[in-house]
Symmetry: C2
């Protein structure tokens, strides 16, 4: 797999960088399990990020990455921390990759950019990134406006660009990983499944909420600000009521306020917090160590591969 070669990993799987859920413990456990472990810097001050990188290096000798949402206010300081620690791979999201890719590449960093359309995939390729993560409508957290699902997005992105494509959104198992790779992806990014792992820094109540979630329990909302997929709870009811009154972006922004995601995902307020997670939470049933999750995924992938080889069509 060319993505495994590019990143120096055993399995073509990236553990998604997720605010409040993916610190050094999750990233190092993922790296040690043969994936690209990722520290999600979106919920970290630069000095906190530094601490997580340092601890991650102690916990694993394998490569790991940092995810950087390009909308973050202290972004320059984040990049300083990343470069001074010689992190090998950076995943950029939620912004224009043209601005930082050259700087990072000059320092020898591998750059992956997250996109939700083949148009932006092409822009990312033109900006010089090494690979893209193409994320469908079903993914948790911040998401694109086009609402293209992973099943429709991946073949289009693979047709549009030549660099490796990593599929994200709706993938939590060996079967769904196999399906995404059949669509043309070089690898997959898995997020929600790892929120419900022993090593994620999500609050125990949030982990429980994730494994309790059923179909229809998440929704893509706040499209006037930045579209985000979250679990419907008291906070979402307040958003719905605001929409019912015809609220404009300004009122929605005030309602969202600051620290909602921390309050929910990290501090465990299941009613008033923002609970970002993917639709695939409906398919997740248990909380377990990363190593076990990865083993299950790979085993199911292999079972699916063998089963599907027997399902020939008469031409």
């Amino acid at each position: 797999m060319r993505i495994s070669k590019l990143l120096g990993i055993q399995h073509p799987i990236i553990q998604a960088g997720m605010v409040w859920c993916s610190g050094w413990e999750l990233a190092s456990a993922s790296a040690n399990a043969g994936l690209l472990g990722v520290i999600g810097s979106g919920s970290m001050y630069p000095e906190i990020l530094n601490e997580h990188i340092v601890k991650c290096k102690v916990a694993t000798e394998k490569p790991f990455a940092v995810n950087v949402p390009l909308l973050y206010p202290e972004i320059e300081r984040h990049f300083e921390v990343i470069l001074s620690n010689r992190v090998k791979t950076v995943i950029t999201s939620a912004g224009n990759p043209a601005k930082y890719t050259e700087l990072l590449k000059k320092e020898g960093v591998t750059v992956i950019h997250v996109v939700s359309s083949s148009k932006f995939a092409l822009k990312a390729q033109d900006a010089g990134v090494d690979a893209v993560i193409a994320e469908g409508f079903e993914a948790g957290g911040h998401n694109g406006r086009e609402e293209t699902t992973t099943l429709c997005l991946i073949p289009q992105v693979c047709r549009a660009i030549d660099i490796p494509v990593v599929a994200a959104g709706g993938i939590s198992s060996g079967k769904s990983m196999y399906a995404a790779m059949a669509l043309g992806a070089d690898g997959v990014q898995i997020g929600s499944r790892f929120v419900a792992s022993d090593e994620s820094s999500a609050h125990p109540l949030f982990k429980q909420k994730v494994i309790d979630a059923n179909e229809g329990d998440t929704v893509l909302t706040l499209k006037e600000l930045a579209p985000v997929r979250l679990i419907k709870n008291g906070f979402y009811t307040a958003i719905s009521e605001a929409y019912g009154r015809g609220a404009l972006a300004k009122e929605l922004k005030e309602l969202l306020g600051r620290g909602r995601a921390k309050k929910g995902m990290f501090e465990g307020d299941m009613i008033n917090g923002e609970l970002e997670i993917g639709q695939v939470s409906a398919c997740i049933q248990d909380i377990k160590p990363v190593a076990e999750i990865v083993k299950e995924i790979i085993m199911e992938y292999e079972e699916t591969r063998k089963l599907m080889y027997s399902r020939s069509m008469s031409v």
Copy 2:
């Protein structure tokens, strides 16, 4: 494949019944290509449906089905026409399968019901249907409220029920068919791809619109009435403006009016008509005969099967 056995078809593919697009020409061409051809009765008066069934029987000796949206006002007369013509399979959608399944089964008809959640899949199984079509958020036309995508829906439905599951939404190619079957589906339903076929009764301008469509060009809207996925055009702009004014369901219903779908898909009014199609229209590039489309899908499925067998993961 158990779905092929159940329906007496060569390939485990159902050509979707679609208003204004799937008359006897498309249904018989699909049946002759080894699929389950389907006449979409949602846009037909009972006497027109009768005519299409009679013509379809002349054009093919292979089995075909009729799709019946259960919200249709003259539904009893539709069932009379179907039973008197001894159609072997009926696909019910948009309603409660408990009401008609027993009647149809008593007459020896195979019944398939369309669902958008595993909850309704279970209800359909309890009602005695022979199989379900599980349709994801990306599908064209009328759709569920939960917005669950095909990638997240199929594994859940397969876990919930024991009868065959046909995946729908986002499938237009051999790759996407293969991916859906890897998720656990027994077969697939394909709609949008067949709108852009020689034999579909869609207006030529609508067929062209479908192959011109790109990512983000369709949207799931009118959720207050019955959620429907359509191409954004002048009619959709009018809907958006109504939403901007805080329009209630009553106003939206008046705006929709009667005959919008016919105006667009059958009469070719690309501005004011309702243009129902799936997200996968972005992946469809040409209009060709059904037989060629099917040949391409099966060939690509086989190529994907062989390619994927070589993509082993080290356990």
